[in-house]
């Protein structure tokens, strides 16, 4: 029990610390690729720290749902982070929820985020909620198909079990089914983390925004929780992709050496994936909202092909 708590505590600290860093890295990389200087790599930490020190304004029209939402978003993202293997195959809470629980806990956060968007009563919030729920709904089957492909190969939906199987066959990602599943999941990752070409995290233009529209009315500590939660969610989804398809360097236990090595490998892999995301973001234009389903349909077809090729190859 104490071991479990210690592991969970350690991973929680790692999760909370790395998540804003990753957002910062992505912002900086993106700026450099666009020959801008961009914000400092630690700017996300400064933002969160500053926001916690500010007061908050709650819309007169809002109810308790508005205030409860930031907590729920933050807490679900953090709990999900404890269920996925980060540096070791043995995730602290993987026994208590596999990949299905991960997907559905994130959905719980999204459910309340969308309610929080509607609660203020302004049209922006409703617009964001409507779009968020729409896009996540059509991303869901593609995500599940890709996840099923991996889960069927490991014959388990338990993430630690899936990671163990992945480690035992590190070069499996070269198999067509895994490559297709990776492609499908990557598209879903772009959609779920609200990046170009699906959403643009950098603007507050009403034509482009989805996530930003929902949290428009939030300020101060509530906004900090939401931003932090969003960055944890991004970290979690990226970790999921990285560790299921490229399990290199995942340590099998919680020894100091294993953890240190695992951490180095983990950060390198995450950096590479971040580069890929930045590349996609910079080389693409934001899609019209009604073109997004086509992109996600591509992802769904990748997933279906991945599934079919599991028993062809």
């Amino acid at each position: 029990m104490t071991g479990l708590l210690a592991k969970a505590g350690l991973q929680l600290v790692l999760l909370l610390l790395v998540a804003p860093l990753l957002s910062g890295i992505i912002k900086t990389l993106k700026a450099r690729l666009q020959t801008r200087r961009g914000p400092h790599i630690l700017q996300s930490y400064r933002d969160i720290f500053k926001l916690f020190g500010k007061g908050t304004v709650i819309p007169e029209t809002a109810s308790w749902i508005f205030s409860a939402t930031p907590y729920i978003v933050f807490v679900t993202a953090a709990l999900v982070g404890l269920m996925i293997p980060m540096t070791t195959t043995d995730a602290p809470l993987s026994l208590f929820g596999g990949v299905l629980a991960v997907v559905y806990l994130l959905a719980l956060g999204r459910f309340f985020l969308a309610l929080g968007g509607l609660d203020a009563g302004s049209s922006f919030g409703g617009l964001g909620s409507s779009r968020e729920m729409t896009i996540s709904a059509i991303a869901e089957p593609a995500m599940m198909l890709a996840i099923f492909t991996v889960a069927l190969a490991a014959s388990s939906t338990n993430l630690s079990e899936m990671a163990k199987v992945a480690v035992s066959q590190s070069w499996k990602f070269l198999a067509p089914s895994q490559m297709l599943a990776f492609a499908a999941l990557f598209i879903v990752l772009i959609a779920e983390t609200g990046r170009i070409p699906v959403d643009n995290p950098a603007t507050h233009l009403e034509l482009t925004m989805i996530h930003e529209a929902m949290i428009l009315e939030y300020s101060g500590p509530y906004l900090a929780l939401l931003e932090w939660g969003a960055s944890i969610k991004q970290l979690v989804l990226m970790t999921l992709v990285v560790n299921t398809f490229f399990p290199f360097g995942l340590s099998s236990d919680w020894t100091l050496r294993g953890l240190g090595l695992g951490l180095i490998f983990y950060l390198t892999k995450m950096l590479l994936l971040a580069c890929l995301i930045v590349l996609v973001e910079t080389t693409n234009a934001k899609l019209r909202l009604f073109r997004v389903p086509e992109l996600l349909m591509v992802s769904f077809i990748f997933g279906a092909l991945a599934l079919i090729s599991t028993f062809l190859f």
Partner: protein
Amino acid sequence: MNTLPVSMIFALSLAAYSTGALASLATWRKPALCRYICCGSGLAGAVFGGFAAVLGVLQGTPVRWMISSGIPLFAYSFDYDALAGFFNLTLAILAGGVSVYSFGYLKEFEGKRSIGFFGFLFHLLLLSLTIVFTAANAFLFLIGWEVMALAAYGLVTFYHEDRETRRAGLLYIVMAHIDAGCLLLGFALLMQVSGSADFASFRTAAAHLSTAQQAAAFVLFFLGFGIKAGVIPFHIWLPAAHPVAPSNISALLSGIVLKAGIYGMARIFLDGLGVLPSWAGLLVLIVGVGSAVLGVLYALMEHDLKRLLAYHSIENIGIILIGLGAALVFRVAGHPQLAAVALIAAMFHTLNHAIFKCLLFLGAGSVLHSTGTRNMEELGGLIRPMPVTAFCFLIGAVAISGLPPLNGFVSEWLTYQSLLAGFGATGGLTRILFPLAGSMLALTGALAAACFVKAFGITFLALPRGAESRLAHEAPRSMLVGMGCLTVACLALGLGVTWFLPTFDAMTEQLLGRRVGSNLISSHGWVLSEGIRHGGTVSTVAIGIGLLILLIPAVVLVSTGTRRFARRRGPAWDCGLAGLSEENEYTATAFSKALRMIFSVLYQPRREIQAVFDVSPYFPKAIRFESEIEPTFEKRLYVPLKDVLLRFAIRMRAIQAGSIHAYLAYIFVTLVLLLLFGVRP
């Protein structure tokens, strides 16, 4: 050992419902007394029924008793086995909640409508459901089935002065009789083989069924029970009939009357027809997937709160059928263990859907009771005048969206796990169907979440959109207690699932010969697993505790992280206009607009905008907007079918000349034909 108590308590529950029916009629002149009697006896019947069900489910051996009637093929025979016990338990939970709720709800009927007649039909419905779930004789079952349909018809058309209600009632009664006809034919087929109307005799006769007979019986029963369960494409009566009934009755109709169809399928497909071939299971699975996806897609387009819920019933029946179909396929493929897991998934979802759908309909009933409208576009901001109703509705919405840690999540999780296991357990191309069905289930879940964000967000949050919702008030206390009980049930079944699952052991042993309940539980009852080594595991209670523990740092960060933290209220951003009003808010139609565009192939949306303007079209003085989606099944399937039937009927009119001689000739010819068939063995 417990034989006597079960039958005694069960008889008491039947007696409570019967007395309730008669006493309600007898006291119809005294509405207040009648209301006490109606709700009191309903609650008593539910308590006895629930108690009997718990005893019946827990003990493995079925209790049988029979009173012979003297009529050939017919006997008052009841069989209280684990399956019957489970459905009776579901019925009892709902009947209890609804009875308490009705105490406050029926008050507004006093002096306006006959509570006596309502109570009579209400108890008749509960009584007939109990009989349907326990009958062991085909004719007794059919009588219960028919009484159930008629009582439900009476309740659906309770507001009969409304034209829409009468039309819905007519549609319902027509469909109910088509399904009863299918069942009658199905039972006739089985009786021909077994020579008896006893369910036990069907079981033994199943081995003598030829493949064609088995297939024919399967199709007939699937049609019959499918229509009752509201499976697409036989669903059209459901979204018409459920919303127009009084809300407490809508809750029962969606919660338990639909489940009579599921009960019938479980009883006949798993018990009465022998081992069905795998195409039958796949058909159930595919129809289930279709119902789930189409049901939720149609629900999204509704802005009538109760119709929206009715469409969600179709969706959830689809999810139940996915589990049931998977169980049928696994059984014939020789994996009884997996079949048992799939069956538990289906049955647990049956119970869960019954509870949260009942809760949601009661919540919608409170809203309707308070504001007088079901149209979401006129609601809004109800969380302030109706905080308790809003909270109960929110819990129901989270549960029906399949979100952890509530009960809907657990049964969907079990369904996913059995679908994934199906990939390894079956061969050939059919195995692809299982993960694909899983991905469609994911789509359904995500769309359901979108739909309930809309339903809860538009109805309860932000600013009121109409005068009615500005004057809203909280529902009476008894209605809140009724909803509260069901809310607690949602939470308890979600968090305490590992303590509940062993109750399915007797049922799976009876139907599939396996007890898997205990295999599904590991780590001293804290973790739910799929029963396969290294398979999936989940623990809703740990998720719940984990969420609460993680809440501590979040709260600490927000409240004590800094001394300068201040919380104040201010206006929401109004784009620089003169303050926010309900005109700025998103509407239900707008919320689902994106999905309407994406799935326009299905919906075939039509819209019409007429603007009146003086100078420039950009400054309209008045604007009229109209939008509708095509009712595909009605237009493409039922209208042509109705036309064909009418044309046929006109042709048939030729022989119905009204001449008594002709009719005498018909009777004579029929008699001769019947004698020819009857005398020849």
